[in-house]
């Protein structure tokens, strides 16, 4: 028997193919995350001016919390979440922490936009991808032994995306900076640092085998808890309640934004799981490009602006696409993936999570003897209750009086669903959402 015919050789080939398949899946998830996270801004654009940004943020987070109990609950029931928690209870703390980081970062962006405008603020907080690369390298062995070509692809791609983001932000800016520019710069930088650091818990969870859908569950608790605390401390309970009551006719649109955001975040979690945070964050940062497409094509935001603005938009978009392509073509080599596995072994040793379970989950499969995800009555009750809340607010929602371009809206929505179907089916076929 030649070496190529031995069972060991066949297993090695299978492992390599599986690894490549998961890398492609992670990249596809990153693209889908960018499209869905960018589209999450669209429903919020339907909300007229006059509502406090803090209330807008709080209602969106409520939508995120409720949305967790609709579509994702159908994929992974509460029994699977409980099983994940039994195996790695410490991950609840990590997910709550990530949710708190998101809420504070999101609030800081409100102040940043108010004080320095989107032009300066966006590129500053978009630097979170560079911080993600640093944390991934320092803490999780990402890009170790990756070779200069992959380093150039990932770091160069992230930098090119930052430059593209800056151009897009300049083009989409409409407001002039206010007098508190230094304060705004600090707020934007702070948001970037918080969002970049939020991916430490993300990666930590996936190196210890937690399912992204379980992570999102506890993440949404942390997010809602922190956002509620920030809103109450900032506005006071009674004024906040009054403003929520006065905004009830638009609550649905904001919650719909939260719903779309959750789907984007779930894809982002799978990207962080299968390609790491150093590649996953820049890929999902392409959401700015999608947000701009919705703004220009559906809401006619740049209508009547000078040709130089359109040059900036096209240039910025091309740069972002170039950066995304550079990162997408810099998937991890076998040597780098060995270093990821070393980091996973370190985590399973520290938190005493069974090594075979961690290995199986990193490989996107179930461990031998693990019960298949199933739905029980509680899951269906939660799905019905959460969906009913959406339906009730949809029934009382006021349709805004504004000009919308329905053709591009339909096309972009179709692209979104195409991503959902292709990426969702791929995740199901290859990993069964494990």
């Amino acid at each position: 028997m030649s070496p190529a015919e031995t069972p060991q050789f066949a297993t090695a080939i299978q492992n390599v193919l599986r690894s490549k398949q998961l890398q492609l899946l992670g990249i596809l998830s990153g693209f889908a995350a960018g499209a869905w996270l960018g589209a999450a801004e669209a429903p919020t654009k339907l909300v007229s001016i006059g509502i406090s940004p803090m209330v807008i943020s709080l209602v969106m987070v409520m939508g995120v919390f409720l949305a967790r109990w609709t579509l994702p609950a159908l994929i992974l029931g509460t029994s699977s979440v409980r099983a994940d928690v039994r195996r790695a209870p410490h991950l609840i703390i990590w997910a709550l922490l990530a949710g708190c980081l998101w809420a504070v970062a999101n609030t800081l962006t409100i102040f940043a936009i108010r004080d320095i405008g989107l032009t300066i603020a966006f590129p500053l907080w978009n630097s979170n991808s560079l911080l993600g690369i640093l944390w991934g390298f320092l803490f999780f062995n990402e890009l170790r032994q990756a070779g200069w070509r992959r380093w150039t692809g990932v770091l160069g791609g992230a930098l090119v995306m930052c430059a593209g983001a800056a151009l897009l932000a300049v083009a989409s800016s409409t407001s002039a900076p206010s007098a508190h520019s230094l304060r705004g710069v600090w707020a934007a930088l702070g948001a970037g640092i918080l969002w970049g650091t939020m991916y430490i818990p993300y990666r930590k969870a996936y190196l210890t085998g937690m399912n992204p859908l379980s992570f999102v569950t506890f993440f949404s608790f942390g997010e809602l808890g922190m956002m509620s605390m920030l809103s109450v401390s900032s506005m006071g309970l009674n004024p906040l309640w009054q403003e929520l009551l006065s905004a009830r006719s638009v609550v649905f649109w904001l919650m719909l934004g939260g719903f779309v955001w959750v789907i984007g975040d779930v894809f982002q979690q799978y990207a962080a799981k299968y390609v790491g945070i150093s590649r996953g964050i820049p890929l999902s940062n392409s959401n700015q490009l999608w947000g701009l497409l919705w703004g220009i094509l559906v809401f006619g935001e740049l209508h009547g602006r000078s040709s130089s603005v359109y040059v900036e938009v096209i240039g910025g978009s091309l740069l972002m696409m170039l950066g995304v392509a550079a990162i997408a073509f810099s998937s991890a080599t076998g040597q780098e993936q060995t270093r990821w596995k070393e980091a996973a072994v370190r985590e399973s040793d520290r938190y005493r999570v069974a090594t075979d379970f961690v290995e199986a989950r990193m490989d996107g499969r179930q461990v031998c003897g693990e019960a298949k995800p199933s739905r029980n009555r509680l899951d269906w009750l939660l799905v019905v209750a959460a969906t009913s809340v959406f339906v009730i607010f949809a029934a009382t929602a006021r349709v805004p009086k504004m000009t919308l371009h329905w053709g591009p809206a339909t096309l972009l929505t179709a692209v979104l669903f195409l991503f959902l179907v292709i990426c969702g089916l791929s995740l199901w076929r290859i990993t069964r959402f494990n």
Binding site: H90, I93, L97, L108, F111, W186, L194, T197, R350
Partner: protein
């Protein structure tokens, strides 16, 4: 392993979290973010 060092297997997961540098980095960043928010407001 040093004989005076507690066996990792006997430590609770709270101890594992609190002795993990990866935990304190996001906590420190969160605290910094809250302070920054307070300063800005």
């Amino acid at each position: 392993m040093n004989a005076a060092e507690p066996d990792p297997k006997t430590r609770g997961w709270w101890t594992s979290i609190f002795s993990d540098i990866h935990f304190w980095v996001p906590v420190a960043v969160l605290m910094g973010g809250l302070l920054l928010l307070r300063f800005i407001r």
